[in-house]
């Protein structure tokens, strides 16, 4: 049952094959069994059971709220959840219990979804491995798959049973792992430079990044306000479409959401790609690309072509500048967004009482990890009066060029771009930590962050399925 798609389980609920409470309990029990994955920071057992109970009442009366009613979901721990601790995997917010729900969380709850818990991430969503949060790294469920265990047996000897587990990718690793491990049917992540798509790729699930402005960011603790979007992780594309349908739309509390009403949509049951024009950006053929990923990329392109789609090579000429541009803009916004964490109103507060400045400094040093502090310092550097023009403004200009690359391609008749998400398959943790967060982010975000800067939507599906 737990391995089914959202739509299948929803049908089962509607037909009474299983009750929301039973479903909830199964998921809770699986969460306990897979605790070693460290996918969840907080498991909201009581809340979930209560929500399941209410859903059950609705089903009994025949008043179900729709496809999401009674469905277990998980939410990344950088979304504000009322009365449930929200930590962003940081010491700064340990113990912080928000008084309000993020809009997307509220929408899920209003549709009857059952909240299993808050999932683990890189601290403040900064990272591409889900390894840098204060609650420890998230382990990729595939580390425990038969395939991988066999592969490992062949390779090394005398290893610890669990020493060579794979990373989930990041920063929404917890959400991806939760979905991949069947503990929920959909999870919310966030995507700023690939943070939903990267872990989705590593964990073999569908990761959907909506267009900027389609889904409300109110309640999503921001990393980069001008690039963040809530992301959706599910086990199949159809499920993602269901969730998107519930979440999309203007939110008066978020002034960056588009005002045009969102038309409800359903995916066609059979995909007809005859009229589709697919673009392959030549600049994405990076030398670091693993041969395995490259071959899958070709296979996917060939598959589309054989089904009647037009597959052509296109160019996004400013691709090589995007990572640096992203870095400047990202750290600048981070420096600004993190300024509010001073220990006064909420969150961690140090013991120093000497002066306000001393209190601020100690609180922030204790509350943030190296990654966050590093980005704050960089960002403040770029925002200094003497540097603003040369770094921030320049990066904004380059960003415009990058966005235009996409616009031009889409205006020239291309409907969709087909690219890899990651350079290689999921790496073992021990391998991953050989480089620091900044280096890893720069390497791993290479395919994903350009789209964030341009604001377009992006979806990935694992090739091996």
């Amino acid at each position: 049952m737990l391995g089914r798609t959202l739509r299948e389980v929803s049908t089962a609920l509607k037909q009474g094959h299983i009750t929301p409470t039973e479903l909830c309990q199964k998921c809770l029990s699986l969460i306990k069994k897979t605790k070693f994955l460290n996918a969840y920071i907080t498991v909201s057992e009581e809340v979930a059971l209560k929500q399941a109970e209410e859903s059950e009442k609705r089903y009994k009366k025949g008043h179900s709220l729709g496809d999401l009613d009674g469905i277990p979901v998980a939410v990344k721990d950088n979304f504000s959840t009322s009365s449930i601790e929200t930590t962003c995997a940081s010491n700064m917010l340990k113990g912080y219990v928000p008084p309000y729900n993020a809009t997307v969380v509220q929408k899920l709850l209003d549709k009857g979804a059952v909240l299993m818990g808050k999932t683990n991430l890189d601290e403040f969503a900064m990272g591409s491995g889900s390894t840098d949060g204060v609650f420890g790294p998230v382990k990729n469920p595939w580390s425990y798959s038969k395939q991988y265990r066999e592969k490992r047996k062949q390779k090394a000897h005398g290893e610890n049973e669990d020493s060579n587990w794979l990373i989930t990718g990041g920063s929404s690793g917890g959400s991806a792992a939760a979905v991949a491990a069947f503990t929920c049917f959909a999870a919310l992540g966030s995507d700023t430079g690939g943070s939903t798509r990267n872990p989705a790729a590593h964990c073999g699930v569908v990761g959907f990044k909506p267009s900027y402005g389609l889904v409300s960011r109110h309640g999503l603790i921001p990393l980069v306000n001008s690039m963040d979007v809530p992301g959706i992780l599910t086990r199949c594309v159809d499920d993602a479409a269901i969730v998107l349908g519930m979440l999309a739309g203007h939110d008066p509390k978020d002034s960056t959401t588009i005002q045009d009403p969102v038309k409800p949509f359903t995916l066609p049951t059979s995909a007809d790609v005859n009229k589709l024009c697919i673009g392959i950006p030549k600049e994405y053929l990076a030398p670091e690309l693993s041969s395995e990923v490259r071959s899958f990329w070709s296979k996917a392109a060939n598959l589309f072509e054989s089904e009647g789609a037009k597959v052509i090579e296109v160019s996004l000429p400013h691709t090589s500048y995007s990572i640096v541009c992203y870095h400047v803009l990202c750290t600048s916004e981070v420096a600004s967004n993190m300024a509010r964490f001073d220990g006064l109103e909420y969150g961690h507060r140090c013991d120093i009482n000497v002066s306000t400045e001393a209190m601020y400094a100690a609180t922030r040093r204790e509350g943030f990890n190296d990654v966050v502090r590093g980005r704050i310092l960089s960002g403040n550097f770029f925002l200094l009066k003497e540097n603003y023009e040369n770094y921030f403004i320049k990066a904004q200009k380059v960003r415009r060029l990058i966005a235009n690359d996409f616009v031009n391609v889409f205006n020239s008749g291309v409907d969709v771009l087909l690219t890899p998400t990651t350079l290689s398959e999921a790496v073992p943790y021990l391998e991953f930590i050989k480089e620091d967060n900044r280096t890893r982010s720069a390497q791993d975000d290479i395919f994903t962050q350009a789209v964030n800067m341009a604001g377009f939507l992006s979806c990935l599906q694992d090739c091996q399925q």
């Binding site: 928000p98 109110h218 509390k253 916004e333 300024a339 306000t356």
Partner: protein, 529 residues
């Protein structure tokens, strides 16, 4: 210690510094304060320069002072600039704080329409060009009363620019000697107010109240076209009246709804501008003028004695009557301005550019607002002069005193007396009594109806003007009697009966035979008035 007494006059834009030998201070404690506040490390030869100055300067040295102002006016609105929490003066601490005001993570700003309208109205009233597109920025600094660590303001592209404000200053001893000046308005921008911090010294702690955090402010920047405290104070007063007439701000300085920072520098005419200092947070018109004048004096004094002016921020100590450097500012702050990513550009329209089918709730039409602007003080004064034939300076006084215009108009409504009479009574006698007892118009024991009735009695010659004054004094005692009652009680009526009058006159003349015929006639005339 010889006190250096400085005297100067504000002749247009020139400061004439005449040094006079020692002697008594005339209420300007500044000079003494100055010497004792000299920073350590600077020359401590306090006495020498004074003597040097006196000796070498026989003539007058011309200095020009340049004063610019940054005025923050709290917008009169129900809720704050970017959040729905209410705006109230003197509410219990931290009772008007929304999640956004407290900078809870994940909260986002949503622009308050009323605040934008207030900005447009103010811009139009001050002859500004309204920018159809304006932008919001973040200004970063760490301070306990700024929860987000940044203030949302409009630094790159504010909502209104290039306006002007006309105001009046007196240029002589006579009240009629007024001159109109204009100060250019550089820009008007929307920004957030900060919270309040209260320092609790005994317990070495600071208490933060966020009620004010996020309240909408209009920052009005006045170009350095002014040259002394009086001009600055007059300009601020006129701005207050305009804001109050528009209803965009209550502009009450005592309640902190209007705060002024002054930028001041001095130079010799013809030479480049001097280094300027900023004097912050002046919250009364009186202190504003005093602080500016003190600072001008101080700068002249420093420069005359061969020292330099530091580009620093100072505060005004009203008890000592002098400006002092503010402790916190070590070097200059870099605010690391950055565009506010959560607010798209603010687009305003006029009738020509309004998109068809636009939701009126979501768009602001500048022309619509312009058509509905309330009457501005300048216009009100003009009308008073035309309608009632009063002198310009009277119209200024009527508007300058809170509630006086309304009082005046209420009297006019209920009396048949000539407007000039009413003007004279209100501005001289009524206002005189108020000032003597330091009362506001709304605290007056005499109501407009009472005064109107009194003036009616006077108008139909039922009483003499000296009797009227007596009645007024009685009214002021507020014993609840009407003017007519007082008149009959005190037998202040003028005699109307011709025969009775003649008898009185005969009696008087018999008592004073030396008074001649002419005198008799005059006397009769007198008692009949």
């Amino acid at each position: 210690m010889a006190a250096l007494m400085l005297r100067w006059s504000c002749l247009g834009k020139r400061w004439v510094l005449a040094c006079i030998d020692g002697g008594s201070r005339h209420g300007r404690g500044a000079a003494i304060g100055l010497t004792s506040r000299r920073k350590r490390g600077q020359s401590s030869v306090a006495q020498q320069p004074l003597i040097a100055v006196q000796k070498s300067r026989k003539g007058e040295h011309e200095w020009a002072a340049v004063v610019g102002l940054e005025i923050h006016a709290q917008i009169s609105s129900n809720s704050k600039l970017f959040s729905g929490s209410q705006v109230h003066f003197a509410a219990p601490p931290n009772s008007l704080v929304s999640f956004f005001d407290a900078s809870l993570p994940g909260t986002l700003p949503v622009l308050n329409r009323r605040c934008v309208e207030a900005a447009v109205m103010t811009g139009l009233a001050l002859n500004c060009r309204i920018n159809k597109k304006s932008l919001f920025d973040r200004k970063h600094y760490f301070y306990a009363d700024l929860p987000a660590g940044y203030q949302i303001t409009q630094q790159r592209l504010p909502i209104a620019v290039n306006g002007s404000l006309a105001y009046s200053v007196s240029v002589g001893k006579k009240p009629s000697q007024v001159s109109t000046r204009t100060v250019r308005i550089k820009q008007i921008q929307l920004e957030q107010d900060s919270g309040k911090s209260l320092h609790d010294e005994p317990r070495s702690q600071t208490l933060i109240d966020l009620n004010r955090a996020g309240v909408g402010l209009l920052e009005v920047v006045l170009e350095p076209d002014m040259s002394c405290g009086e001009e600055a104070a007059s300009a601020v007063r006129e701005l207050q009246l305009i804001l109050q007439a528009l209803g965009t701000s209550q502009a009450n300085m005592a309640e902190g709804q209007l705060r002024v920072d002054a930028n001041i520098s001095v130079h010799h005419p013809g030479e480049p501008l001097g280094v300027r200092t900023e004097v912050k947070n002046l919250n009364s018109a009186r202190f504003l003028a005093k602080a500016i004048d003190f600072e001008i004096k101080r700068q002249i004094h420093e420069l005359e004695n061969g020292r330099k002016i530091l580009n620093e921020t100072r505060s005004f100590d009203d008890k000592l009557g002098c400006t002092m450097p503010m402790r916190d500012k070590e070097g200059k702050q870099d605010y690391r301005f950055m565009p506010e990513p959560n607010l798209p550009p603010l687009l305003l329209y006029d009738t020509a550019s309004l998109p068809p089918g636009a939701d009126p709730q979501q768009v602001i039409n500048i022309d619509w607002i312009r058509e509905r602007l309330p009457e501005l003080p300048g216009k009100t004064r003009e009308k008073l002069i035309q309608q009632y034939g009063m002198l310009p300076e009277h119209s200024f006084t009527l508007l300058n005193e809170v509630g006086l215009l309304e009082f005046f108009q209420n009297v006019i409504k209920e009396t048949r007396a000539e407007p000039k009479k009413v003007t004279s009574w209100v501005l001289n006698i009524f206002l005189g009594f108020l000032k003597q007892q330091n009362l506001a118009v709304n605290e007056s024991p005499v109501t407009p109806s009472a005064l109107a009735e009194l003036l009616n009695l006077l108008d139909r010659k039922a009483i003499s003007s000296s009797a009227a004054r007596q009645v007024f004094e009685e009214l002021w005692q507020s014993k609840g009697k009407t003017p007519s009652q007082i008149v009959s009680e005190k037998k202040l009526e003028l005699m109307q009966d011709q025969e009775a009058l003649e008898r009185v006159c005969h009696t008087v003349m018999e008592g004073h035979p030396q008074v001649g015929v002419e005198g008799r006639r005059k006397a009769m005339h007198f008692s009949a008035c």
